[in-house]
């Protein structure tokens, strides 16, 4: 087992958590949705517990309606946990005021449509909003940070283009740049790979990994991509029907029986030499 971990450390996106203290702690946090205050909840997210340190990537996996986005919203401080707590650097996130929260946590949601056209640099500058007065004009520092963010995602070349003229991959990078312009410590992404082709998916995850390793971000990604999650993340949280089923390294979580039950599909899991599992669809006879 320890040999496996040793190999894991040298491989792509190896386990690094040992030295860093946990940055975000999710402790027995649960949530329930109801149509009104008086009716019984229509969806509950069971108590979830896990933590993540700086430089770590955590993937939240699960079928549709398993509670992935709810868990992400709770970590973003947008909804209060019904019980338990979510802490960022020792402070409860739902207690932070909105601007302080936006300085520490950036949430990249599934994209929404712009009502009026906007230039890329105008869009990225929006990420500086939490750092000023309510009615504000951007400073030189804001421009510098926005420029750095664009450079970090390799989107320098498109800075003067209109948002609606970008390709899917470019757009995803620009949205990520706006999140980086917030200069957060925690980066949350809700299905960022959804509209990308396989090349775009790998490119984005490599970039996130680089950001985590080199710029000390903690990255939490909600995704449907089992194999990419196994390849790039340090920890996996697996949800099923609102229950956090497993949390651990990819190798610990990817057990054939568990995945088959959760995703209701015939699956095979094999462990590769770098210590990361690979999931395949078993041939249907």
């Amino acid at each position: 087992m320890s040999g496996e971990l040793e190999r894991g450390r040298t491989g792509l996106g190896a386990t690094t958590a040992v030295a860093e203290p946990p940055r975000i702690k999710v402790e027995q946090a649960s949530y329930a949705y109801a149509a009104t205050d008086r009716t019984a909840p229509t969806f509950t997210l069971g108590p979830a517990t896990f933590e993540a340190a700086a430089r770590e990537i955590v993937a939240i996996l699960g079928p549709n309606a398993s509670g992935k986005s709810t868990l992400l919203k709770m970590m973003a401080g947008l909804i209060d946990p019904l019980s338990g707590r979510v802490e960022l650097d020792g402070q409860e996130v739902s207690k932070l005021d909105p601007r302080t929260r936006a300085q520490r946590i950036a949430l990249v949601a599934q994209e929404s449509e712009l009502l009026f056209p906007l230039r890329v640099w105008e869009y990225v500058l929006q990420g500086r909003y939490p750092y000023g007065k309510r009615l504000r004009f951007e400073s030189d520092e804001d421009c510098l940070m926005a420029g750095n963010a664009l450079a970090q995602v390799g989107a320098d070349a498109v800075r003067d283009r209109w948002m609606d003229s970008l390709s899917g991959g470019e757009k995803q990078r620009v949205i990520l740049a706006r999140a980086l312009a917030q200069h957060p410590s925690l980066l949350l992404l809700d299905e960022p790979t959804q509209h990308l082709d396989i090349g775009g998916k790998v490119e984005l995850l490599r970039r996130l990994q680089k950001l985590a390793r080199e710029s000390k971000y903690t990255v939490i990604v909600v995704t449907h991509e089992l194999n990419l999650a196994a390849e790039f993340s340090d920890r996996i949280v697996l949800l099923h029907k609102g229950k956090p089923l497993r949390a651990g390294t990819p190798a610990e979580v990817y057990q054939r029986e568990v995945l088959e039950e959760v995703f209701e599909a015939p699956l095979d899991v094999e462990l590769r030499v770098n210590g990361r599992p690979r999931v395949m669809l078993r041939g249907i006879r």
């Binding site: 601007r99 449509e113 004009f137 951007e138 917030q182």
Partner: protein, 343 residues
């Protein structure tokens, strides 16, 4: 990367203010009583420094007694409608929204008609009644537009449209009961015109009162300009970036509604300015609300002053209601801008 600066806003607004002043001078010049541009400027200047004695009395009457109050009313109404339109477009996240979409004007019209029925010759009754009608509509639509305790844009839009059509139906019924003479007044009012004289002899005080309401409401909306930029890129994203979306919506709803009620109660329902001017300003100066709100105010003022000048001179001495002119000129201009944008 060239972010917006206060200097750029001042430059563009200064330019528009010069155009507005030119439009005012043109408007003061036009009419049955001839008066030269030089005399207009001299009269304005002497009036401004308080040298009334130096001005011939007929110039004084024409400029300060007749034409300037009407121009001031046009500026107030145009600026209010354009700022309200820009506000509603952001609040409802709908480029087709205008100041009347939520029924504020229908409520005001109903108030005006009721006052014509009940107290036809009381000065100020029509303004007061229409402002009350607008206020009641604003309050009712607000409560209908709540969802989970907060303003929900789609719910608000539907509630407003329903309120507007209900009130229009009531107006139609009442109009069938009005005698012919009053009906003409109501029709002019529904189209929008600037001929209604102030309900008091203390004209400067009346305008000071109206412009105070304008600056308070427009100023309140301007404090949310940065937030509105973010809300336009997505309400959820704005929340993630730390915008207090519910507070912003409340401020914009109240401010835009008060501005609409203000404009409608002194001039009736002048169409197209509130829809067209914010779009025209966007096409010229971009979508940033920190620049869009002041340019819309000035653009709306210019549009109404010019439209009213056309309305009272083209078929003189017959006066056309300014609302008919804005709709006649506005609809083709809007279609032109729309087609140009599609290409």
């Amino acid at each position: 990367m060239k972010p917006l600066t206060p200097q750029r806003i001042a430059r563009i607004c200064g330019l528009l203010a010069v155009i507005l002043f030119a439009a005012m001078v043109v408007s003061l010049r036009m009419g049955t009583y001839p008066i030269s541009v030089r005399d207009i400027v001299l009269t304005l200047f002497r009036g401004a420094i308080g040298h009334r004695d130096a001005v011939p009395s007929e110039f004084w009457l024409v400029v300060f007694g007749l034409r300037l109050p009407r121009i001031a009313l046009g500026i107030l109404v145009g600026a209010s409608l354009a700022v309200a339109g820009a506000g509603f477009q952001a609040l409802l996240r709908n480029p087709l929204a205008d100041p009347y979409v939520l029924g504020v004007s229908s409520g005001a019209a109903l108030g005006a008609i009721l006052s014509l029925l009940a107290a036809p010759h009381v000065p100020g009754a029509i303004q007061l009644a229409s402002f009350l009608g607008a206020a009641v509509t604003i309050a009712v639509v607000f409560f209908l537009g709540l969802r989970g305790g907060h303003l929900d844009s789609p719910t608000l839009l539907l509630a407003g449209i329903m309120a507007a059509s209900f009130l229009s139906a009531v107006i139609m019924l009442l109009m069938a009961m009005l005698p012919g003479r009053d009906l003409h007044g109501v029709l002019f009012w529904l189209m929008g015109d600037l001929t209604t004289s102030p309900p008091t002899t203390r004209v400067p005080a009346w305008f000071a009162f109206l412009f105070t309401i304008f600056f308070l409401s427009a100023g309140a909306m301007y404090t949310t300009a940065t937030d509105l930029n973010l809300i336009l890129s997505g309400e959820q994203e704005a929340r993630h970036l730390g915008v207090n979306v519910n507070r912003v919506k409340l401020v914009v709803y109240v401010a835009a509604s008060v501005l609409t009620g203000l404009a409608v109660s002194v001039s009736g329902a002048i169409g197209f300015v509130g829809l067209l001017i914010p779009h025209a300003m966007r096409m010229m100066f971009g979508t940033d609300y920190r620049l869009l709100l002041p340019t819309s105010a000035l653009g709306g003022a210019i549009a109404i002053v010019l439209a009213d000048t056309i309305g009272r001179t083209v078929l003189a001495p017959t006066e056309l209601p300014v609302g008919a002119i804005t709709a006649l000129a506005g609809a083709p201009v809007f279609i032109y801008l729309l087609r140009r944008r599609m290409r």
